[in-house]
Symmetry: C2
Subunit: 390 residues, 2 copies
């Protein structure tokens, strides 16, 4: 029997393991110092009260024969799919229930969606980017073409290299940079002209503050004919440990003579059995007026952090992007330092932890990510220390 | 861009869609008749009280900053992995935490595990069987070799054809037949001799009543060197809508020069982000003394149904298997009828719904599955009607 040899081509990704080890070592040698982490992109605020209520109610339902739920609707419960459609209607995008697939989070679908496509398609991936896009395609043995993010293009590369599958993430992880409508239109036009497919990761869409910026690729004309959108409640509603998301596969999306919606339906009904009923009820509560208001307050809390980080760096004259429409700030390491050198110095001198940019791709070298997901007091204290140190 | 053409080779599986349509039509024409469904293999009893309590407690934790949980441990929370190890210890099987991967149910892993293996491996699959094994391998373009289940071998085929990957399901869905230790040993020996890998689906292991029968493949010598076991809380604890399971990839399992445990770890950390914290807490409660006792009571409830169905068929002189160590009874359609003919007659005359065996594979033609997951009163009423009709 033969294993999938592509797995042997994967680079070991030690980013967060190495960060954790270095922080542990530092704390062991400096037990008196308070270390503040702006490293990992995980939320800290608890679930919104309206979500907790809905979860609790659903748990109660599962404990009584008359309200117990077994296998759920295959694409997700209609109440949640309809709520997602309503959310899109608020963005000016009309979707049908049948185009929504409830998932256990964006991460699974960003990888699993590739099942639908031949392994000899080429894939265009921004560098730096969320490492899952790269690894999932290495596993399938696909040729990966990188598009360079850099300070010159504000880490928002535009079409110049052809490929069959194009990953876009906006607002971007790790750079926090966000495509404008005009820029996304260039991508949609490019995909239409080249018979390519865009996989649009909109996991951070709820952090967009500027009304002129798109929060869904379907706000761009023709996108339903060339794009799949993959999103999540993880960052929008603090569901990183609660696990729910959704994927939109428009009925109008046809490639290589096949409608992709029924293919994905078949994939998911074969290799997935849906998100838990309890969790889907929690996610549904996000889309009530009370839910919106509560999760928006949480997002505002994080965005206050992001602004504070961005303002501090601005005051220090440090080039950076993100922080305005995303919970990440992406900065150029001062004095031409490498990503890991800056990590060590920042930890040693300011006792602040961030994520070295090179961990997100070769073009991230010399850059650094700070996350806005910590408590206000910690972010404020961290920025004081950064100011003193720089 | 090219789609994965293997998807076009999938046969449309209309089994449960057709059943639903036929039942709807019958009810519309016969509104006065009470139709009893022993068709779909979904549980009906609510979650055990101790599970509900654990879920409720975890929901509360998610609502407070001090107890909130974001991203969880990548293979699943240690409390749950340790509890699974404890469960196996009770079967006489020693496993390490690192060998357990918590999933969102057996269904996902039964398909996704195939990512680790080359597409040109051959696959041996019993016929009839749970349709996911076949469809997931068609999607990958693998050559499928079928092993025939029939009344002669009690629907428990033994090794005679070579293949790289072997799917076994015991107790079996749909036949309810359960391999003995001696039979499973033949499979393990065969896999060891032929460098093959067994994917052992033990989703129904908790229904085994006969202590002499194996409930895990690891109860067979050498199995850790040739088998992956995939299991679920779906039937054991009524989690079909709650979604949690586990997969065991032993550290001793090496194929084609590669240890499979780190490969699966890499797959899951790339394309999966874990089961929800809340749900893992619910699953953990199953393994407490109180939890065991409550889920065992539920299983006993279903097994009483199974015995009642089996006894009725026995009284009628109808050949069948299952029902003793599994919640399914698999019967030979009377008078040489085909599966769908018997479905129509049973619905029309006795107003009872079952699942035509041919829906689980060509060798299921002429057979029929009855599920024991309904309420006692319904099963008892259904058997009265069957007795009258036959």
């Amino acid at each position: 029997m033969k294993i999938n040899k592509n797995y042997l081509k994967l680079k070991k990704n030690y980013l967060f393991t190495t960060i954790t080890q270095k922080v542990q070592d530092f704390k062991a040698s400096n037990p008196q110092r308070e270390v503040i982490s702006l490293g990992i992109g995980d939320v800290t605020l608890p679930l919104a009260p309206v979500v907790v209520d809905a979860l609790r109610h659903a748990v109660d339902e599962m404990g009584h024969a008359s309200t117990f739920r077994g296998y759920g609707d295959e694409q997700g419960y209609p109440f949640l799919r309809r709520a997602v459609c309503g959310y899109y209607a608020g963005k000016g995008v009309t979707l049908d229930d049948s185009e929504i697939f409830i998932s256990d989070g964006a991460n699974s679908d960003l990888g699993n969606i590739l099942d639908l496509f031949a392994d000899d398609n080429t894939v265009l991936i921004p560098d730096p980017v969320y490492p899952v896009y790269v690894d999932a395609n290495i596993m399938a043995g696909r040729e990966i073409i990188y598009m360079d993010g850099n300070a010159g293009n504000g880490f928002l590369p535009l079409p110049d290299k052809k490929a069959d599958i194009i990953y876009l993430c906006s607002p971007n992880n790790p750079t926090g940079a966000t495509y404008s409508r005009a820029q996304l239109k260039m991508w949609v036009d490019f995909a239409m002209e080249n018979d390519a497919l865009i996989l649009f990761d909109s996991a951070y869409e709820a952090f967009v503050q500027d009304d002129a910026l798109p929060t869904s690729i379907y706000q761009i004309e023709n996108a339903k004919e060339c794009a799949i959108e993959i999103s999540s409640f993880s960052k929008m509603a603090g569901f990183t440990g609660t696990r729910c998301g959704y994927t939109v596969v428009p009925n109008a999306l046809v490639r290589d003579g096949a409608a992709l919606n029924p293919l994905w339906y078949r994939r998911q009904t074969t290799k997935f059995n849906g998100a838990p009923y309890i969790i889907q009820r929690g996610a549904g509560a996000v889309f009530t007026p009370e839910g919106f208001s509560q999760v928006k307050a949480n997002i505002a809390y994080y965005m206050k952090n992001a602004k504070f980080i961005s303002d501090t760096l601005h005051g220090l004259g440090i080039w950076h992007t993100g922080g305005e429409n995303a919970p990440y700030v992406w900065l150029k390491c001062p004095k031409g330092m490498g990503s890991w050198d800056f990590f060590d110095v920042l930890l040693g001198e300011a006792n602040v932890v961030g994520a070295p940019g090179v961990g997100f791709g070769a073009k991230g070298e010399g850059f650094f990510r700070l996350s806005a997901f910590a408590e206000h007091e910690k972010v404020s204290k961290a920025m004081e220390k950064v100011k003193k140190f720089l």
